[in-house]
């Protein structure tokens, strides 16, 4: 008996290591034959048990109007609210007095995907998207410009549950 090992008193009648061992063996063997839960990722991205939530906040997307122009009016709210300071916006104005972004860049490395930009946007232009596969071979490819943001096609995040918008 090792010194200082605390020995728990166990009811002798109920402690059968033999039976417990056999029970455990039966359990592991039954698991051997059960259906597996592994989702084989690159081939299989969602199953009937699991899909990406519609509230997932991933790669950004800029929505466009009927003429294919970005909906953004360069109001400056998203760079203002962004806690990671990852949005670069230089506003411009055309001859009719409509404001539009001259430069609109999001650094996806700095972004913390909080979704505030989408929440604050009065024009519903910038969105976070239901998308997560944004790996690249070089670091500078992670600064998304306006062209790239408008070219994204993945669904945009709903940010809240559409059937329960107030979170009740």
């Amino acid at each position: 008996m090792a010194i200082g090992v605390k020995v728990m008193k166990r009811p002798t009648q109920q402690t059968s290591y033999l039976r417990a061992t056999l029970k455990g063996m039966a359990l592991t063997f039954s698991h051997l034959l059960r259906p597996k839960v592994t989702m084989q990722y690159p081939e299989e991205k969602s199953s009937k048990d699991w899909t990406l939530s519609s509230r997932w906040r991933g790669t950004h997307r800029m929505l466009t109007d009927e003429q294919g122009r970005a909906k953004c009016v360069a109001c400056g709210l998203c760079p203002q609210i962004c806690p990671a300071n990852c949005i670069k916006l230089v506003p411009g104005e055309d001859e009719d007095g409509h404001r539009y972004p001259l430069i609109y860049e999001i650094d996806e490395f700095r972004c913390i995907f909080c979704g505030y930009c989408q929440e604050v946007c009065p024009e519903e232009a910038i969105h976070v998207g239901v998308h997560y596969e944004n790996s690249e071979y070089s670091r500078d490819r992670f600064v998304y410009d306006l062209e790239r943001l408008t070219a994204q096609t993945h669904p945009v995040s709903t940010l809240w549950d559409p059937s329960d918008p107030k979170g009740e």
């Binding site: 008996m1 090792a2 090992v5 020995v7 008193k9 166990r10 002798t12 009648q13 109920q14 402690t15 059968s16 290591y17 033999l18 039976r19 061992t21 455990g24 063996m25 359990l27 592991t28 063997f29 698991h31 051997l32 059960r34 259906p35 597996k36 839960v37 592994t38 084989q40």
Partner: protein, 387 residues
């Protein structure tokens, strides 16, 4: 004269390669069975069903950097993996794995070396493996490695005794230590697992301890000792310990099949062991042997992913206070029974004697289970509280 030499060389080559490939596939099987038991799929990317995963692992281990601790004993540090690797492969040499193969030049026994002292050879060589582990633990100059090596030596010595005692029963019954004769005896009567059930149980448990597999993997014990004796090893040296562990498993499984389940004998038939040798017989008996060995290998994996590790004092108590007395009592009873049947009744080993001893074993087994079922294995190993 040259033919036996050529045949032996071919057999050595084939058996060595089969074991190495078998060990490679066994590592894959281990990972896949483990995954299945945890409702996962396991490695299935490299090749069909992950079959080339062992090759990828091997390649990785060849290309990895060899590290060597600054204060390590260089010579022993390099020697240790070799010392544990070689006996693991050597032991398989005396195990017959199929019925004799007829060729144009004569009948070839399907065993690398049918030593007259086969079984003693296995006991001698397999206990050499512990030197590798102890040397690895010592030469690494690392506390954890040393603790692992110490545990390994204590554990191997403790269970070696129970293992040897349980096989004394086999030798008593077979009257021979040549493994091919042990198989011949079982073909004549019943597999030794029936007349020697308890010896098999003891052998089975001790074999787990001898191969350092869970629930007896205290020399590695990654939760306590990082990786135990091979903490400081990397690349191919580490891989050699790994291969040694798995080859030991293969040998122990093959030994269980040989000593207690009739070896290459196909159960319930006498066709395979009588009459002229033929190629078909060799192939079928090889399959039979492989199936038996595979079953025990699977059991090794199955037990590993079911049972937690023993505490050190529990391990020692199980070895010295349960298995050793049990095997001594069993040998005494069995020797008396065999003496009674052989001398008083004058029976030779055959169905009748096997059945009679089987009955005795059944009674003893029921008594043993009844005793163990009171939770005496582990709680019996610690001090009774006087309250």
């Amino acid at each position: 004269m040259t033919f036996p030499l050529v045949a032996s060389a071919i057999k050595v080559f084939v058996v060595f390669n089969l074991i190495m490939v078998g060990v490679a596939l066994l590592t894959l099987l281990e990972r896949r069975v483990c995954a299945w038991m945890q409702d996962r799929l396991g490695p299935n990317r490299v090749g069909p069903q992950g079959l080339f995963q062992p090759a990828a692992d091997g390649l990785k281990n060849f290309l990895k950097e060899e590290t060597s601790p600054a204060m390590a004993d260089k010579a022993l540090f390099t020697l240790a993996p070799i010392v544990s690797f070689v006996p693991a492969l050597l032991t398989f040499g005396v195990i017959p794995f199929a019925a004799p193969l007829p060729t144009k030049w004569g009948v070839v026994p399907m065993v690398v070396a049918d030593l007259p002292v086969g079984f003693l050879y296995i006991l001698a060589i397999s206990s050499l493996g512990v030197y590798g582990i102890v040397l690895a633990g010592w030469a690494s100059n690392n506390k954890y490695a040393l603790l692992g090596g110490l545990r390994a030596s204590a554990q191997m010595i403790s269970y070696e005794i129970a293992l040897g005692m349980s096989t004394v029963a086999v030798i008593l019954l077979a009257g021979n230590v040549t493994l091919s004769q042990v198989i011949a005896q079982q073909q004549h009567g019943l597999p030794f697992v029936i007349p020697l059930t308890i010896a098999f149980v003891i052998f089975f448990i001790s074999a787990f301890a001898e191969t350092n597999r869970l629930p007896f993997d205290l020399p590695e014990a990654e939760g306590e000792l990082i990786a135990g004796y091979h903490t400081e090893y990397s690349a191919m040296k580490f891989s050699m310990f790994y291969i040694a562990e798995y080859s030991n498993m293969v040998t122990a499984s093959a030994l269980m099949a040989t000593l207690f389940f009739g070896g290459w004998d196909i159960p319930f038939t006498s066709w395979d062991s009588t009459g002229e040798p033929s190629v078909l017989k060799t192939v079928l008996t090889l399959l039979s042997f492989s199936a038996k060995t595979f079953f025990f290998l699977f059991t090794y994996i199955w037990v590993r992913w079911t049972l937690p590790r023993f505490r050190y004092d529990q391990l020692m108590a199980l070895g010295w206070k349960v298995l050793l007395p049990l095997s001594l009592i069993y040998i005494t009873l069995l020797a008396v029974a065999i003496w009674f049947i052989r001398i008083r009744l004058g029976w030779e080993y055959g169905r009748g004697m096997a059945a009679a001893l089987g009955g005795l074993n059944l009674v003893l087994l029921i008594a043993l289970v009844w005793w163990l079922d009171r939770g005496r294995i582990v709680s019996g190993s610690v001090q009774e509280e006087t309250a």
